[in-house]
Point group: C2
Amino acid sequence: MIECVPNFSEGRDAAKVRAIVDAIAGVAGVLLLGYESDADHNRSVVTFAGPSDAVMEAAIRGAGRAAEVIDLSQHEGVHPRVGVADVIPFVPLAGATMDDCVAIAHCAGRGIWSRFGIPVYFYESAATIPERRRLEKVRRRGFDGRPPDVGDIAAHPTAGASVVGARDFLIAFNVNLATADVGVAQSVARKIRESSGGFRFVKAMGRFLASRGCAQISMNLTNFVQTDLDAVFEAIRAEAPVASCQLIGFVPKRAYAMFPGFFERAENFSASRVIETRMKELGAGEG
Amino acid sequence: MIECVPNFSEGRDAAKVRAIVDAIAGVAGVLLLGYESDADHNRSVVTFAGPSDAVMEAAIRGAGRAAEVIDLSQHEGVHPRVGVADVIPFVPLAGATMDDCVAIAHCAGRGIWSRFGIPVYFYESAATIPERRRLEKVRRRGFDGRPPDVGDIAAHPTAGASVVGARDFLIAFNVNLATADVGVAQSVARKIRESSGGFRFVKAMGRFLASRGCAQISMNLTNFVQTDLDAVFEAIRAEAPVASCQLIGFVPKRAYAMFPGFFERAENFSASRVIETRMKELGAGEG
C-alpha cells in the first residue's frame, strides 16, 4: 500500500475539484480517503491510497484531469505553485518502502509528461538532482537553469509543471492567529522553523488568510517521531495569540497517540482524521 | 533516441495488425520505421523510434490495442509466445544509454499493468530477477514459481503477459532450407548456436514453415561486432541446402558495412533495411 497526497491549484470551483477527484477515485483499487479545498490558497489536497500501480495510475489521471479543468494562467491564490497538479508526493504505507515510492514517482512523472505533455520535476527521495530534494527549492523553477527531469518546461501553455516525489508521511497543520498582522505570523514562523534555527523537521510560513481576515502560520511537520509537537505549539502561543487550528489531510495513529492534545486542538479534528481509522472505516483496514 | 521493436501475436489478420500499428504511430514524436507480419509464426514485429517518453507511451498503447484486438486463447502459431503483446524490447540509439532504456522499460511495464491489467515480466538488462535475464527462460513462465515483476499473472483473460526489457540492437535473420525436414533445421541450429557450443552471440532454432513447405533456421544475432556473420552462414551452408534468406526488421549501418554479403543475401534486403538510411528517408536522420 502506498499513499498519494497531490495538491491541485484549484480550491474555489467545487465542480472542477470534483472532476479531478472523480478521475482519481475511478481507478480500480484506489481508496479515496478524503479531499479538502482551501479557497484562500485556491488549492485542494486529495488523499488516496492503494496498491502502488493503481495509485500511480490515479495520480497520472488526476494530473491529466487537472490540466483539462484548470488554467494556471488564470490562477489566483496566496500559496506558491508551479502547476495545476502542483505537487504529487508518494508515501510508503504498510508493506511498501521508500524505494517503491521512488520507482512509482519516476514512472508517474514519465506518464504525466508522455500522456499530457506536462513537464515534471522530481523532489525529495525521488530527486535525481541533489539541489531538487527540497520542494521549496524546486518551486523556484529555473533556479538552476537546468531543464525539468522529464519533458520541456515550455511544453504546456496552461498546466505549468508538476513536482513529483517520494517522501515520508508529513503532517500539515495551520495555526490561525487572533491578529490580522501577517508580520506577526511571519516572525513566529521564522522562530519555529528549522531553516532559521527553530525546531528540527518543522517547516513554517506566515501569510494572510482573507476568508477569516487573520494571519496564519502554515506548518509542515516532516518527522513527528522526532519533533515535540506540544513544544512547537507552546512556542507559537508564547509569541502570538492563537485563534484556531486546522489539520490538513490525515495523521498516523502513532503521531496521534504521542500528541493527542496537539491534534485535538484542531477545529476540524475527528477520529476519522487518523489514517488507520479512516482506512478501516472505508473497509480496507488491517483489523 | 531509443528504438522499440515489439512483437505482437498476430500475423494473419492485416486489419488487426494495422490497428496496433496505428496506435503506436499515433503518438506524437514517434517515427514508425516499419512493420512485418509473418503468417506462419502468426506474429508481427513493429519497429519504431523517437524520444524516450514518446516511445514509452507508444509501446504502452500498442500493448493496450493488442489486448483489444487479439485473443490469446484463440491463438495459433509456431512461435513460442506468452502474450498478445509478447515481447517489448527497448534499444538505445544515438544519445541514449542502456540505463535510459531500463528506466523506460520499467515504467512501460508499470503502465501496461496499471492501464490494461496485463502482467509484465522484465528481461535482459531490465531484469530484476537474474534468472529472468534471458528471454527463453522467461517464456517458460511460472518456471520459478514467482509472480510477474508487475501485476498478477491470472489478471487478464485473453492478453496473457508481456515480457518487457532493455537490450542492445539485435539482428533477426531466417534461413529457409531446400528441405521440408525440420529435423535438419533443428540439427543445424544446435550446431551454430552458442547455447550448444556454436558461435558466440548466436541464438537459433529450427522449425517448419508451412507457407513455403520448408524447414527454417530462425536466428537472433545479438552482437554483430563480435560474430563473424559470414562464417555463421558458411557453417549453415556446409550442413544443409539453403533455399533463401529473410531479414526481419533493421540492421545498423555498421553491421552492414562489416558483412554486406551476408545481408544482401536476404531476399527482402534493400538499402532501406539499414536503420540509419531508413531514418534519413523518414526525415529524422542526422545528415
